[in-house]
């Protein structure tokens, strides 16, 4: 056996280094299909959209093909638009509430799945992941049946409990939209955090138990510091999903009564396809991009300090 290995080793060292290098290069080429796809269908359209935002391209007449560079004109118009600022604050509100609720729910769910306190973990995990497996286009329709002001299930439940019924999609449009978004959204944080908590070695907790540490101590001194990277990553991913959220709001309220749920993505869509100002729509898209970019950088920076 030993001689065999030795022989092989000798063969290996004597074999041409060229082959070895070649294999290294092949592994470098492994990067290329993914990068090619990503650059073609994501990076190039992004750059193109940035260029469009400086032109007067429009969806009517000749301007779709013969557009010219007009500098920062689109942005000037946007910043003097009241609805733009309104939709800006609406988006901020939506993202904050969504992020908080999704993250909290996901964290709690992750604790249920991983903690030793609760029985039937496999069943709980199975029950809690179901919303994530539902495709996004079905969810708003399910919820419309829930949220209807006269016959909706939610108001029936409220009336049974003796509470006043709400007109969910009109007066409480923002709350309903956030609720629908969190319904399927919390699972992402749950999956990431549960796998992170599971990867903490049991020995740490056992040592704590020997010294008689409380549950709170175990949670704050062991669990939290060890899952801080997954925490940051789940926050980034949730924010990424929320900032360009389109489907739910589009189907549920389409901007809502008096622009109260007009998210930036919806504003961009309306600018481009309802007012036919493609350049302005692309400009709003670019603003969303810049916000995402800055927040991502900030989050990475903050987590480095931690």
């Amino acid at each position: 056996m030993i001689t065999k290995i030795k022989r092989l080793r000798i063969v290996r060292t004597n074999s041409t280094k060229l082959k070895y290098k070649l294999e290294e290069i092949i592994i470098i080429f492994f990067l290329f299909p993914a990068l090619a796809l990503f650059i073609t269908f994501q990076v190039i359209p992004t750059l193109w959209a940035i260029y469009f935002s400086f032109t007067d391209i429009a969806l009517y007449g000749k301007k779709l093909f013969e557009y010219k560079f007009i500098g920062l004109n689109n942005y000037e118009k946007l910043f003097s638009d009241e609805i733009f600022w309104k939709s800006f604050s609406v988006t901020f509100e939506y993202c904050t509430f969504s992020l908080l609720l999704r993250f909290t729910l996901g964290f709690i769910a992750a604790l249920y799945i991983t903690s030793r306190l609760f029985k039937g973990k496999a069943i709980i995990a199975g029950l809690l992941i179901i919303p994530y497996t539902l495709p996004g286009a079905v969810i708003p329709y399910m919820w419309i049946s829930m949220l209807d002001s006269r016959y909706g299930t939610l108001n029936k439940v409220l009336m049974l409990l003796g509470l006043p019924p709400q007109s969910w999609l009109y007066e409480r449009a923002m709350q309903s939209v956030v609720m629908v978004n969190c319904w399927s959204g919390y699972v992402l944080a749950m999956l990431i955090l549960a796998s992170a908590i599971k990867s903490i070695p049991d020995e740490y907790y056992e040592v704590c138990e020997i010294y008689g540490a409380s549950r709170l101590f175990k949670f704050t001194k062991i669990t939290l510091p060890l899952i801080k990277w997954p925490l940051v990553l789940s926050l980034i991913l949730i924010f990424k999903e929320d900032i360009d959220d389109f489907t739910y709001v589009f189907i549920l309220t389409e901007g809502g009564p008096n622009y109260r749920t007009e998210l930036l993505s919806l504003y961009a869509y309306h600018k481009a396809f309802a007012f036919y100002e493609l350049g302005a729509g692309c400009a709003v898209g670019l603003i969303i991009m810049i916000i995402v970019f800055l927040l991502t950088l900030a989050q990475i920076k903050i987590s480095r300090i931690m």
């Binding site: 592994i27 470098i28 990067l31 299909p33 809690l128 996004g136 079905v138 919820w143 049946s145 991502t296």
Partner: protein, 296 residues
């Protein structure tokens, strides 16, 4: 001392009780909207609101598969429902295959190669991948005309795959990072070339990672709404997501009353089933996602 013990014995189970109560509310929040979907799919007279049917039938499913005609007088219902299912499958499988192949290759390369600026490259990939889809819809549309991806299901799958690749590369790299390098080195010692070692040793070990990526990408392709919305223009080629959205006609926030809710809920149920079965295959591995460490 005695009182302290009493308090402790009271407070320990109470955490459990509170936990179960919170869990009950969470489960109620999750399952309440789904009750309507299930009941309406099996009831002969489905309406937009929750009501418990007196009898259950499978008629709605027969209508979806084109085995049975709709009753006269019902609202217009598409004849292509069974084709929508096939279309969705084509998009989802294309997305899955493309993502698994490309993301696992790239993840392996990023896990094993060492080059300058790798961490910046990884973060850059993530940041670029976060650029919102809504911002690049129009250029994407123009690009897809050039590639001939309009009314092309495989093309739509490829475009969806390109959007989810960065995160999947991160997940895949995490899995490859956790496969010990020694395993590979041993294979080299025994005379495997690098590529042989990859296919015979590393890939079998990365099975959980591959299934997680396959699961997530299948869901992304199966459920995507925006990309088919701009790329697929004819009704026979709609995926289910688009079909459902086109069939539930209503003003925002209002429920359309002239909609055949029974067949549509049956279709929605059919829409839900493949992803759920895939989840039951992959859920063992889903909890194992070990994300690559950010070495910024």
């Amino acid at each position: 001392m005695n009182t302290r013990r009493l308090i402790r014995s009271l407070s320990e189970p109470s955490i459990e009780v509170i936990g179960y109560v919170v869990l009950f509310f969470m489960i109620a929040y999750i399952y309440a909207p789904m009750i309507w979907l299930f009941l309406t799919a099996f009831s002969p007279k489905g309406g937009p609101f929750l009501e418990i049917p007196k009898s259950f039938t499978l008629e709605n499913f027969a209508i979806v598969f084109g085995l049975k005609k709709i009753r006269a007088g019902a609202a217009a219902l598409s004849l292509y429902m069974h084709r929508w299912i096939v279309n969705s499958l084509i998009i989802a499988i294309t997305t899955m295959v493309v993502t698994v192949v490309t993301a696992s290759m790239a993840g392996y390369a990023l896990s094993r190669l060492r080059f300058r600026g790798k961490s910046i490259f990884m973060v850059g990939l993530l940041v670029l991948g976060m650029m919102p889809t809504i911002a690049k819809l129009l250029p994407l549309y123009k690009l897809c005309i050039m590639f001939g991806f309009i009314n092309n299901l495989v093309g739509a799958g490829i475009v969806v795959a390109s959007g989810i690749i960065p995160v999947q590369i991160w997940i895949m790299k995490g899995f490859f990072d956790h496969i010990p390098r020694e395993l590979e080195e041993q294979a080299w010692i025994f005379g495997c070339s690098k590529l042989e070692a990859l296919f015979r040793v590393v890939l079998p070990c990365a099975g959980p990672g591959l299934s997680v990526v396959a699961f997530l990408s299948f869901l992304a392709g199966w459920g995507n709404f925006i990309i088919p919305l701009i790329l697929i223009r004819t009704e026979p080629l709609y995926p289910i997501s688009l079909g459902i959205a086109a069939s539930f006609i209503h003003h925002p926030g209002e429920i359309g009353l002239a909609v055949p809710y029974g067949p549509l809920c049956a279709l929605s149920l059919i829409y839900v089933i493949p992803s759920m079965t895939l989840y039951f295959i992959a859920r063992k591995y889903l909890m194992q996602i070990k994300l690559a460490k950010m070495e910024v």
